[in-house]
């Protein structure tokens, strides 16, 4: 995996820095015994993505500084009595040096999300070549950073190299949509079953109640289902495959929403039913229901993708993507 060396170095630095910050604050008592550590809020405080936080927590667990408990996340120490609170309210001490490192290092990560979203949502318009120099200019970053970004995009399966070693993205065809949904309807129900013992059912109950309110949309439900249920399966490879399979589908769906695709009330109802089943620990029926839901979603996605044919790609063009005729 030579091509990811650059990426791994930055990743290493980042998770090491995060575990340092957490370790120091436990020592000084700012992070009290029993405090519940959750990936998301830590990532926010550290201005990081979740992956390095995950890694940092794993290290601290190995060092027996934190431990798993009967709930989501970890607790500081070995406490049986989890203390819940907002980590941002704890006023964690982050040394100037580390703070600076957190800000400056991993430039590629700071720009990555936007590039990923832009490219993933361009796939519906066809096949593109990525011009590396243009991408660097567009982002205002060095060639090294561009290479890090491209490595990550390639790992996520969004881009590939052609015979002349150019980076190519797309197209997202009906066939690939159909295939991706077929994979999803095999993997996601299976992952849900694997996840069953690790799901925080109190959290799902909370989601289920929240879903009753009309202000949440399909996309949020789908994300919640993945993060709070499916991704609890203790199989990182499986979850990573699911995330990668979903990536261009979700990006296409977001792109269509930006074009004015209205809310899918039927899908929203289906998610409510799903959370209801999971909350009551009816995992087998929930898995079957999920499989059927994904089949319907596949059909709708195919029909919706057709509208893209009447939308000019010129309005959605990016300077670093060149259309392949």
């Amino acid at each position: 995996m030579n091509k990811t060396v650059g990426t791994k170095v930055t990743m290493q630095k980042r998770y090491a820095l995060i575990s340092d910050v957490l370790r120091n604050n436990m020592r000084t008592g700012r992070l009290p015994q029993g405090f519940v550590l959750l990936e998301g809020p830590i990532a926010d405080v550290m201005q990081s993505s979740r992956a390095p936080v995950q890694m940092a927590l794993r290290i601290l667990e190995e060092e027996k500084l934190i431990s798993r408990f009967d709930g989501r996340g970890f607790v500081v120490g070995k406490s049986q009595y989890p203390v819940r609170g907002e980590i941002r309210d704890l006023d964690l001490q982050i040394s100037g040096e580390i703070d600076e490192a957190l800000q400056s290092r991993g430039t590629w990560e700071l720009v990555y999300d936007q590039v990923e979203e832009d490219i993933a949502s361009s796939l519906i318009f066809g096949e593109f070549r990525i011009i590396e120099t243009e991408l660097g200019d567009h982002l205002g970053v060095s060639r090294t950073v561009v290479r890090d970004v491209l490595s990550r995009l390639s790992e996520r399966g969004l881009i590939r190299k052609n015979q002349s070693s150019h980076w190519i993205a797309g197209p997202l065809t009906a066939q690939s949509v159909r295939e991706r949904f077929a994979i999803r309807s095999i993997l996601e129900p299976a992952a849900l079953k694997l996840a069953a013992p690790h799901i925080d059912y109190a959290e799902v109950a909370h989601l289920s109640r929240k879903a009753e309110k009309p202000d949440d949309v399909e996309e949020d439900f789908e994300k919640a289902l993945l993060e709070s249920c499916i991704a609890k399966a203790q199989n990182a490879e499986l979850i990573s495959v699911i995330r990668n399979i979903q990536l261009p589908l979700n990006a296409a769906s977001r792109a269509l929403t930006r074009l004015g695709l209205p809310r899918d009330r039927f899908a929203e109802d289906e998610y409510r039913t799903l959370f209801g089943l999971i909350e009551r620990r009816l995992i087998d029926p929930a898995a079957d229901y999920l499989e059927n839901h994904l089949k319907l979603l596949a059909q709708k996605s195919l029909a919706r993708l057709k509208i893209v044919a009447v939308i000019s790609e010129a309005e959605h063009s990016l300077p670093y993507l060149t259309k392949i005729q």
Binding site: I124, F125, G126, P171, T173, A174, Q175, R178, L259, G260, L261, P262, R263, D264, F266, L296, Q299, K300, L302, A303, R304, L305, K306, I307, V308, A309, V310, I311, Q325
Partner: protein
């Protein structure tokens, strides 16, 4: 003090559609018969479909084709039509209700209207019959191609093939309609019947099949096969009249517009069958109250015969036959629907002669023609991919690129 006259606000129904049905004479007559104003917005197929999906507040009725329906439907822009409010629903033909005019009629590949007609549980569309429908079936036709008999020969009945669109005899004098959900099927039928490509399902091509078709067309283009890609029936008619093509995609009204000006230019009855299309009307999502009532009035009026007669004079058929028969002259009905010899010259929509006495409609009676559907105009699963590839091909032909 003079009392100002009461202001009576005229009610207006907005119809978004294409030149197939949104004719001035229909607007005038409907306004007179129905007592409200109509606002017609006429667009080409592709823009019309885009507007219907993305600007659902811009119209009340969407008057288009079944093959352009599911995009708009799945975009959430439309609402179901209650068949109990359609007076002549019982008389609507089995072509749309069941997928064929009889049990034994060819079903055709692709988007047969029946597959999109009924609203299913979960708001999807399918052929399982129910009270609510997505689009009220109206005008339709069985299309083929036209050819110069001086090139391909007279007396070719039962020998005419879509393959002629790729035939070397017509090299440099071939034209195809540019619309991606229509023209691509004329080309695909040609490629399949010439034996150059075998599609697993011509109505739902794979990416590899689309690539193969475009490559084949592009090879022909580089050899100078194509004269042009036409856009409207009037363009097609002009190409034939001005002797610029030997074979081309052709729509019914274009033959009428030739009005005897090119007697050697014949409508084919392809051995492979026709490329069919079916129009209809849908209701905008959120339409309610008085405007919804007006919309139902307008749709019911459309099925009541007079419009069917106007459509017949362009060669189009209606989904409800009996009222059309009543509205046409007996000799018109006999020619257009019966496939019989014209007992007099027959007029078109503007009063001009479109059929000379003694002529017979190629392909015969409606029942014969509607029995032989090879493929329906279709927005395939890979439409987004196919339409982009097709339009790039169209541009290359138009640009005359080598």
């Amino acid at each position: 003090m003079v009392k100002s006259p009461a202001i009576i606000k005229r009610r207006t129904l907005r119809v978004l559609g294409t030149a197939v049905t949104l004719l001035d004479q229909i607007k005038e007559r409907a306004e007179r018969d129905l007592g409200f104003d109509l606002e017609f917005e006429v667009l080409d197929f592709v823009s019309c479909q885009g507007k219907a999906a993305l600007s659902p507040q811009a119209y009340d009725i969407y008057d288009q084709c079944f093959h352009n329906l599911d995009i708009v439907w799945f975009w959430g822009a439309l609402q179901p039509i209650d068949t109990q409010r359609i007076t002549l629903w019982d008389q609507v033909s089995d072509l749309t209700k069941k997928g064929g005019i009889s049990r034994y009629a060819w079903r055709g590949h692709g988007d047969a209207p029946v597959k999109k007609l009924y609203v299913q549980p979960g708001d999807s569309l399918g052929s399982e019959q129910g009270r609510f429908i997505s689009m009220l079936p109206t005008v339709h036709n069985l299309d083929s191609f036209g050819y110069d008999a001086r090139v391909f020969g007279y007396e070719q009945r039962f020998n005419e093939s879509w393959a002629w669109l790729l035939d070397a005899r017509a090299k440099g004098r071939v034209a195809i309609v540019d619309e991606p959900a229509i023209g691509i099927f004329d080309a695909a039928l040609a490629a399949e019947s010439s034996g150059e490509i075998a599609f697993a399902d011509i109505g739902n091509m794979t990416v590899a099949e689309i690539d193969a078709l475009i490559k084949l067309l592009d090879d022909r283009r580089q050899k100078g096969f194509f004269r042009t890609m036409w856009r409207t029936a009037a363009d097609a008619s002009a190409l034939a009249r001005n002797n610029q093509v030997d074979v081309q995609s052709m729509w019914s009204p274009a033959y009428g517009e030739l009005s005897g000006g090119a007697p050697h230019f014949l409508e084919a009855v392809p051995i492979e069958g026709y490329r069919a299309w079916h129009g209809g009307m849908s209701l905008r999502h959120g339409l309610s109250g008085d405007t919804l009532d007006m919309a139902y009035d307008y749709m019911n009026w459309w099925l009541s015969g007079w419009t069917g007669a106007v459509m017949a004079r362009q060669g189009y058929y209606m989904s409800v036959l009996e009222p059309v028969k009543q509205a046409l002259l007996p000799e018109e009905w006999a020619y257009w629907y019966g496939g019989e010899e014209a007992l007099s010259d027959l007029s078109g929509t503007a009063g001009q002669t479109v059929v000379q006495m003694g002529k017979r409609r190629p392909g015969g009676a409606y029942s014969d023609r509607a029995n032989r559907i090879a493929v329906w105009n279709t927005v395939m699963d890979e439409h987004n991919y196919a339409a982009r590839a097709w339009m790039r091909f169209v541009e290359r032909v138009r640009a005359g690129q080598p």
